[in-house]
């Protein structure tokens, strides 16, 4: 199979941050207004920074381990680094949740995706910073400050757009309809998380669901958006490497340079 559970877990967290960071970076130069272009680019940089810490952590765990065949095919031989992990793996090796890879759509969809994920990251990092692994705890501590702002910024935008004009309200309803089905996965532990949760080195994602639901219900309520029904069907698979069609295109663009000129620096 893949890597040992702790490495898969680190990659899952790193991939979440990298893929959403890359998605947000696609807005750079295309934001609806200069100030928001900068705001979203700042968030992209925060997320890519978090991804770097997590990939470096994963690379330290990988050091000394044989590279599993399922991943070895796409990782260039030699030393495993943050770059080979980010640029050398194919879609089925990525462990990010489906929510973060969804296409940007309009500004409303991008904002809602950020809000749903930042709310998750906020409660997640809040628990991870108490983790017994000092590296993960330190990364969580630093990231939590950034995410606190992301959550505040995206919450205010969800409210502005949801409780805005007829047009913006309609677009937010549409975005909610498109994205909600990808939120279930955030709270379901993958196979590699289960032994870590039992061992106390991973956050049980199910345990943050009540806080997340409360926050989301509060903001959606203020935005005059209706909370989707409790029994909505949920799409899953991203955490195991089964992704939506969007991820392949994203990786093709993000990894092009390193694939074409391996190890290239400038």
């Amino acid at each position: 199979m893949g890597y040992p559970a702790d490495i898969e877990y680190a990659l899952h967290l790193a991939d979440n941050a990298l893929i959403l960071g890359h998605r947000n970076s696609e807005w750079t130069g295309h934001g609806p207004i200069l100030e928001q272009d900068i705001a979203l680019s700042n968030i992209a940089l925060d997320l890519i920074g978090q991804a770097r810490f997590l990939y470096q952590y994963a690379a330290r765990l990988v050091a000394g381990q044989p590279i599993p065949a399922s991943i070895g095919g796409t990782i260039p031989t030699g030393e495993v680094t943050e770059d080979t992990l980010a640029y050398g793996r194919d879609a089925w090796d990525f462990r990010n949740c489906l929510l973060v890879e969804q296409d940007n759509g309009d500004w409303g969809k991008t904002i809602l995706r950020q809000f749903l994920f930042s709310a998750w990251q906020y409660y997640f990092y809040g628990k991870l910073r108490l983790n017994q692994d000092p590296d993960l705890a330190a990364i969580a501590e630093k990231s939590l400050k950034e995410v606190t702002y992301h959550l505040r910024w995206s919450s205010e935008w969800v409210i502005r757009l949801g409780d805005g004009t007829e047009e913006s309200h309609g677009r937010m309803e549409q975005a909610l309809d498109q994205l909600w089905k990808f939120t279930g996965e955030l709270f379901m532990p993958a196979a590699y998380e289960e032994p870590l949760i039992t061992g106390g080195v991973a956050v049980d994602p199910g345990s943050i669901r009540p806080s997340w639901m409360e926050k989301v219900a509060e903001v959606l309520g203020e935005a005059r958006l209706s909370l989707p029904a409790e029994n909505t069907w949920m799409q899953t698979g991203g955490k195991k490497g089964r992704h939506t069609e969007h991820l392949g295109y994203l990786l093709a663009e993000m990894q092009f340079l390193q694939r074409t000129y391996p190890g290239c620096e400038w």
Binding site: P32, I33, E35, I38, A39, N42, R152, R160
Partner: protein, 95 residues
């Protein structure tokens, strides 16, 4: 791009505790809360500040540049307004 422009805001940043807020620039925002967030994202991303003030530009009243000569030139020849005409003892080094 937009039919209606958001109002313009002036941004004042305090670079560290104890210093004054200084004018940093201006930006567009729909309201004060958004103006502060925008200012945070536009003007403090390189650790420039610890505190932000914003004020909508329309509330700033400025002197008229056409009146500059009558407003400011008369101060030109009033050197006695500077405290430079006191005899100081030699022992006083740091005045």
């Amino acid at each position: 791009m937009r039919e209606q422009q958001w109002p313009l805001w002036e941004v004042f940043i305090r670079s560290k505790q104890g210093l004054d807020h200084k004018h940093a620039g201006s930006l567009h925002a729909a309201d004060a809360a958004m103006a502060i967030e925008n200012a945070r994202d536009v003007y403090t991303r390189r650790m420039e500040g610890v505190s932000i003030w914003v004020v909508e530009s329309k509330y700033i009243h400025a002197s008229n540049p056409d009146e500059a000569s009558s407003l400011y030139d008369p101060a030109n020849d009033k050197v006695y307004r500077h405290p430079t005409f006191y005899d100081l003892p030699d022992e006083l080094k740091h005045m």
